[in-house]
């Protein structure tokens, strides 16, 4: 319940950090505020005119019209000038906010792409996308409504208070003292309002969560005739959402007119004091009437303030999440003094490498080592298959060689250069990873190939298909290279996506190839195409395959078998089979599982 006091300091720090990260947010804020101050001047012109008219031109029975008209002329000029200032202030605030948010977004793109793969798992992906979109949106909302309101209303209160003091310090004092308790009322109700809003946001998320479960699980529920249980859960979360929102609304409803209530008491206090002071005390009737108008003006912004509280909270929460992402350290850091890789084929060396996920971040869970003191030399041009049960560390080795992550202990070299000394640009031109489930962009095949090699011509692309023996497949597509592959490549089959991914990898003409073999089942014709393409792609290149099908392993120059993060066997397929060890056993089991039909 003490959210307000607890979060005050961190909120201020969050905002402070926000403007450091995106300086456009605060650049020239002083001038913007000054312009806003003049901009709210138009709202002061009327009370001043009323006072001047009553005191100097509107004596009962003796009205000096020409004086009042001259006065109004001056007033009109002031109104026009202050409107101009208002426009400038609004424009400056909005434009700079947009520039600031643009820069925040850009920093997020860049940072997120460079985060390690652990930060990019499926659970976290949605959150990362909403950092760039909806969280930044709450800031946009804030700057275009709440922020602008704060600026204009704040300047209005400031300007009115100054004019009040200039008119009559005694009346001003009375007005300030009478309205001061409002601050306590606001602070008291505001903390309740903030927690009420937080609760309704939570309830809203709960509701959306249950609805999405109901929809996604609709078929399952129907299959077992269990719809009603889930519908009841949704109804409950919906009722809770309504209640919490109505509650926040009612608290807001009491807060909203508080400025007006205080205004009537303050006005009567001011009038009473004015009566006591009287003409003898140097006060005029015009000044008193003008003062009454000013008092209303002074407390007018309170209503809008109460509306802005929630927006400020959401904006700070959004900013906090955005900064949280920017504070997450990026994946393997760039090398500061890169050394060039030698020309030609490259060897790969893994030297005394141990690896544990999360060990670097100091998290205590999940830091059991995945790899224990592994050393492996792969000669230039050799084709090595990594085999072993799932969880044995095959994928981790592939990630280390591709420098998608760095070892906890030990080092990885290619061409004799430690990976941390190789520039990312060069590494990505010399070494390519083909992941298990290759990702294709929702665009044409040509676009996806150009992603690897932006300067490639259609001739280059056709040649690449030809080289991997896939021209016939490309020709079978309705639009050839211009065939649209659909979202995540969904218009193609899993096997066809593999084919495109292999051609894409070949576009770069890498010296080292890291292949994570797909496990999904593929129809037999495509299977043949994939095998042929893989063979041609691996030809003459240092190749590391993570083999799920042992047929792949049997074709490699060398098989390395892993178990629980350790190398247990290493040798050619034939030698290992002859040794009758673990690999031979695994191979035997695999043969049986794929050959049941002929043994029957």
């Amino acid at each position: 319940m003490s959210m307000d006091t607890d979060q005050r300091f961190p909120s201020a720090r969050i905002i402070g950090r926000g403007v450091t990260v995106a300086p456009a947010l605060k650049s020239g804020i002083g001038l913007t505020f000054l312009l806003a101050l003049f901009g709210t001047g138009a709202r002061l012109v009327i009370p001043i005119l009323i006072q001047q008219s009553i005191d100097h031109g509107l004596q009962p029975g003796r009205v000096d019209v020409s004086y009042i008209i001259r006065l109004c002329g001056v007033g009109s000029v002031c109104v026009v000038l202050s409107s101009f200032c208002l426009r400038e202030a609004t424009k400056r605030l909005g434009t700079r906010a947009e520039h600031g948010l643009f820069s925040l977004r850009s920093q997020l793109f860049d940072h997120i792409h460079r985060l390690s793969l652990e930060e990019h798992n499926n659970e976290k992906r949605g959150a990362l996308v909403s950092r760039v979109t909806s969280d930044i949106e709450t800031l946009t909302q804030f700057f275009s409504w709440g922020g602008l309101g704060l600026l204009l209303d704040g300047s209005q209160m400031f300007a009115v208070a100054a004019v009040m003091l200039a008119y009559d310090w005694r009346l001003a004092l009375v007005a300030f003292v009478t309205s001061a308790p409002l601050i306590f009322v606001l602070r008291y109700v505001q903390s309740r309002l903030v927690s009420a809003h937080n609760l309704s946001r939570e309830r809203n998320a709960d509701f959306l969560g249950t609805v999405s479960e109901l929809m996604a699980g609709a078929e399952t529920l129907r299959a077992y005739g269990a719809e009603q249980t889930m519908i009841d859960t949704v109804a409950l979360s919906m009722r809770n959402r309504r209640k919490s929102n109505v509650r926040a609304g009612v608290i807001g409803a009491f807060l909203f007119p508080s400025g007006e209530v205080f205004a009537v008491f303050t006005v009567m206090a001011v009038v009473g004091t004015g009566l006591l002071i009287g003409p003898a005390g140097g006060l005029t009737s015009g000044a008193l009437v003008g003062f009454v108008f000013l008092t209303y003006r002074f407390l007018e912004p309170i209503a809008e303030f109460t509306e802005i509280i929630d927006q400020v909270q959401s904006a700070v929460a959004g900013l906090r999440r955005v900064l949280g992402v920017l504070d997450t350290p990026i994946g393997p850091p760039q090398s500061e003094h890169p050394r060039p890789l030698p020309q030609g084929k490259l060897s790969v060396d893994i030297q005394e490498v141990s690896f544990a996920y999360g060990a670097r971040l100091g998290e205590d869970d999940d830091d059991t080592p995945v790899l224990h003191d592994i050393s492996l030399h792969i000669a230039a041009g050799q084709h090595v298959a990594l085999v072993g049960p799932s969880g044995s560390g095959k994928t981790t080795i592939a990630r280390l060689i591709a420098r998608l992550t760095d070892p906890t202990i030990g080092r990885v070299q290619i061409g004799g250069i430690t990976l941390t000394d190789v520039s990312n640009d060069e590494l990505r031109r010399r070494l390519i990873v083909v992941p298990q489930e290759p990702f294709l962009f929702a665009n044409t095949i040509a676009y996806n190939l150009a992603f690897a090699e932006p300067h490639a011509t259609p001739q280059d692309m056709n040649a690449a298909f030809d080289e991997l023996g896939l021209s016939d497949w490309l020709e079978s597509l309705p639009n050839g290279l211009d065939t649209h592959v659909g979202q995540r490549g969904s218009s193609l089959s899993a096997g066809e996506r593999q084919l495109v991914a292999l051609v894409r990898a070949s576009m770069v003409k890498p010296d080292v190839l890291v292949l994570d073999e797909a496990t999904s089942s593929v129809d037999s014709l495509t299977e043949v195409r994939i095998s042929r393409a893989l063979e041609r792609l691996a030809l003459g290149r240092t190749t590391i395959s993570i083999a799920h099908r042992l047929s792949t392993a049997s074709r490699a120059d060398r098989v390395v078998m892993l178990e629980n993060g350790r190398i247990v066997e290493d040798g050619s397929h034939g030698v290992l089979l002859g040794a009758r060890g673990k690999y031979a056993a695994l191979y035997e089991a695999w043969l049986n599982s794929t050959s049941g039909s002929t043994n029957a």
């Binding site: 009327i46 009323i50 009553i54 009962p60 009205v63 019209v65 009042i68 109004c72 109104v79 409107s83 208002l86 609004t90 909005g94 434009t95 643009f102 850009s106 793109f109 792409h113 793969l117 996308v129 609805v211 929809m215 399952t220 129907r222 077992y224 269990a226 009603q228 889930m230 919906m238 959402r241 309504r242 109505v246 409803a253 909203f256 007119p257 209530v261 009567m268 009038v271 003409p279 009737s285 209303y296 998608l404 990505r428 990702f439 294709l440 995540r488 770069v508 089942s521 129809d523 037999s524 299977e527 047929s551 049997s554 089991a589 043969l591 599982s593 794929t594 050959s595 049941g596 039909s597």
Partner: protein, 575 residues
């Protein structure tokens, strides 16, 4: 154009208000109290000036009695006005959220009454957005609407009051109404364009960002971080530009809407002075006139914002109606075999297609599956194995011919089964009370009991959204256990064991066979070991479903079957 907008608004309100008219009417009553008190408060101010301030300063009179009356009037009206605001805002909130809840409830009831094939045509995310977000957007117009009615009342009363105080001055004052109204309309029209383009840019951006983060592995693999950054920044700068155009338009509007009434006000003072000189007006009346005018300006300034809420709500409501207006489709019918029948499934000269107007996938399918048998459905990828299972499950109806199933129902388990975010217990029972022995038996048969007992909270473990805390194979086994626990007589497994290793898979199938004499299991299989365990094979080849046969028979008689089995072994041959 404006007229159609008005008609749209009226029809929207009529439909929304029929759910909960009462809180809305109370809110409108509160708003009316507010409007009347606002006009009355200017009267109070005039009284203070004429009877309290002017006598004191120009005649040097102090009358405690009048001051007391003035205080009561000013404070009383002020408090009453605040009460009006509290009632209006509270009940407007109730009206908005109750209506939103009613719309969501209606949608859920309608959607849950639609058959499976309807659900397959609709994206889950889209349905969630319509139930959870659009219903809220549709009702959101009810929040500010009572205030709008009070604005109309206020503008009407004020105009009359202003004219009553002084006719010529009143007429000058009311010119501000069409001026501000026109400004608002012009601005709304311009800003809509900018908002639309900003909204579109935002949509493009989130799509691109989503894809780019989705494909981060490729981005990293090809070292394309910088190129992606440039691509996304270009899209993002379009959003920035659209927003800045909107800001510029808004800045001009704010300035005009602030300056125009002030200018009118200045001219009111000038002309008011003339009226005071001619004796038609007192100074107090002029003050109250000016005060009332300033009160009138604020609601007029935001009426445009209120009007802009209507198209927003009505587009939400349209999306809600689109779902509600879809007629309820008939649930697929189930033909039951007579009690005591020896067969679990009988399909007689049936043909099937995905949709009523599309080409049939199968024609003239006839087969009979005996009770208690294990049948493997075998065919190439995309040959229609899943479709066949769905039709046996009764999710798809035969176009011609008939499908008969045994009493006791069937349970279809998918390759990627859906788990709820609650406990394992809930996922197994789906809220029904089942004997503990049934659950234990189901866990045993699905080879789940070991990993479940290793979990910290056993069967009470919360599995997380979509069972995220379990592995793919564990999710498949839990879904299988759910099907077994339901006590259905026919289990239809659509590649449900694909994520299991071959050893566990065969244990599962053995246990399925042993756990009940009367349970029939039909399983889509691609591993030869699994096919070998099955009693019969249902072979699908080039759109033809062959009658039940054994694996050995098919190996001898069917060349396509033999070829398919060979292709399962192609890897072995290659070595």
């Amino acid at each position: 154009m404006e007229q159609s907008r008005l008609r749209l608004a009226i029809s929207l309100l009529r439909q929304l208000l029929k759910f909960h008219p009462k809180p809305f009417l109370i809110a409108v009553a509160g708003a009316s109290v507010y409007a009347v008190c606002t006009v009355a408060s200017s009267f109070g101010l005039g009284y203070v000036v004429d009877h309290v301030i002017i006598p004191r300063y120009q005649l040097n009179l102090i009358d405690r009695h009048t001051f007391l009356i003035a205080s009561i009037i000013v404070v009383g009206i002020g408090l009453l006005r605040a009460v009006g605001v509290v009632i209006r805002r509270s009940y407007a909130g109730i009206s908005h959220w109750s209506t939103s809840e009613s719309l969501s409830t209606q949608l859920i009831r309608h959607v849950m009454s639609q058959p499976s094939r309807w659900h397959q045509r609709h994206m889950t995310g889209d349905l969630v957005a319509r139930i959870g977000v659009d219903s809220d957007t549709a009702a959101s117009v009810l929040g500010p609407l009572p205030f709008s009615t009070s604005v109309v009342l206020l503008v009407g009363l004020t105009s009359i009051w202003l004219v009553v105080i002084d006719v010529p001055l009143g007429l000058l004052a009311v010119t501000v109404i069409p001026l501000l109204f026109g400004l608002n309309l012009g601005y709304q029209r311009r800003i809509d364009r900018h908002f639309d383009s900003a909204q579109k840019a935002l949509g493009d951006l989130s799509e691109a960002v989503h894809e780019s983060f989705d494909g981060v592995m490729v981005v990293k693999a090809f070292g394309a971080e910088d190129r992606e950054h440039v691509r996304l920044a270009t899209i993002s700068s379009k959003l920035k530009d659209a927003r800045i155009r909107a800001v510029n338009a808004r800045a001009i509007f704010e300035a005009l809407v602030d300056g125009t009434p002030s200018l009118v006000n200045v001219s009111l003072i000038a002309y008011g002075a003339v009226r005071v000189r001619s004796g038609s007006l007192t100074i107090g009346e002029l003050s109250s006139f000016i005060y009332l005018f300033t009160l009138l300006v604020f609601p007029l300034r935001i009426i445009g914002y209120l009007l802009s809420e209507i198209p927003h709500s009505s587009s939400g409501f349209k999306r809600v109606r689109e779902i509600l207006d879809e007629p309820l489709e008939p649930q697929p019918t189930v033909n039951l075999l007579p009690v005591g029948s020896k067969s679990a499934v009988e399909v007689r000269s049936a043909s099937f297609s995905y949709a009523d107007d599309s080409e049939p996938i199968f024609t003239d399918v006839t087969f009979t599956i005996p009770v208690g048998s294990i049948v493997a459905v075998v065919g190439e990828t995309g040959s229609g194995k899943s479709t066949l299972l769905k039709m046996i499950a009764g999710l798809i109806n035969a176009r011609t011919g008939s499908v008969h199933v045994t009493e006791g129902g069937s349970a279809l388990v998918f390759q990627e089964p859906f788990l709820f975010s609650g406990s394992l217990q809930f996922n197994l029972t789906l809220g029904k009370s089942l004997p503990i022995t049934d659950i234990a038996r189901a866990l045993w048969a699905s080879v789940s009991e070991e990993f479940v007992s290793e979990l910290d909270n056993g069967i009470d473990t919360i599995v997380g959204e979509r069972g995220i805390s379990l592995s793919g194979g564990q999710r498949q086994r839990i879904a299988l256990a759910r099907a077994i626990a339901s006590g259905r007589q026919t289990l239809l497994l659509d590649d449900t064991t694909s994520a299991l290793d071959p050893t566990t898979e065969s244990i599962v199938i053995d246990r399925l066979a042993s756990q009940s004499e009367t349970t029939t299991t039909i399983i889509v299989a691609s591993r030869p070991t699994t096919i070998k365990i099955a009693d019969y094979v249902l072979f699908i080849h080039s759109g033809v479903v062959h009658d039940l046969s054994t694996h050995d028979e098919l190996m001898l008689t069917s060349t396509p079957y033999k070829n398919l089995m060979m292709s399962f072994e192609i890897d072995r041959k290659a070595s």
